[in-house]
Subunit: 169 residues, 2 copies
Amino acid sequence: MQPRKKPSSECPAARTLESVGEWWSILILRDAFQGCTRFEKFQRSLGIAPNILARRLKHLTAQGMFERRLYHKRPNWYEYVLTPKGRDFFPVVVAMFAWGNKHLSPKGKSLLMADRASSRAVEPIIVAAGTLTPVTPDNVVLVPGPKASPDMLRRLGSMRALRPDSPPT
Amino acid sequence: MQPRKKPSSECPAARTLESVGEWWSILILRDAFQGCTRFEKFQRSLGIAPNILARRLKHLTAQGMFERRLYHKRPNWYEYVLTPKGRDFFPVVVAMFAWGNKHLSPKGKSLLMADRASSRAVEPIIVAAGTLTPVTPDNVVLVPGPKASPDMLRRLGSMRALRPDSPPT
């Protein structure tokens, strides 16, 4: 059975996975958010094979998440700088970080996120811009956008979003 | 060159990828957040091969993200219900959804997230619990936790976190 392309490519989360959803890509972005820009630095941090790292950096640059910038002439050396599109990926990494710290740190936390100014630990949560009310499976629902296809409309109709009255036990 | 296990397994974002970072797993969770619980429903929605779906559901159940629940006897049929740990993964999917909608919807949005009560569109952002200030690469920094290894301490020292004064151009 072949994956049905349409619904997946119509779903923005699936599009994100198609575009960036690769183990190494996300770790490369994670390091970029910590200030990594140079090939050697990424390689040291990730312990990744050079050919794989080169391929991922090329892909992320082609995707418009990195901009290649010359930082040394003769020989020409380039660094990889996050674009605004790349920086916008930060919440995905932060959400993975928070979930991992909460659920996959049985022996205690090795890393914490802290406020740069106050140095206080930061617990990231997702809220709705404007109202700042938490975004949970119970209080949000997916609705068709202006470009929803008939297939997507059917798909949404066939799915019952999680409701507060039916939480998992 | 082999991946260096320690830093990756010490980083909660990397742990998350190791545990759930698989294309299908994230789409399965996405559908679960929309109310999917049954094998056939996941299969129809994802267009995924039954053997792959079975393997991913088994893995996510073993990871404690789904609880298998009997919903029909003789023959015994089971459904897959999100556990609290599984529900906590919601922000990751939401962040991917938001990024995909912002950056990968050139022809317009097919899907929107809306508030269940008001039906108003929801733009998810990530903020610090308590202060509700936005979490960005500029205002947060990674700091060692109580269980940080010497390797992690060195690693953190070697990385310059992104600063407001050095945004990508």
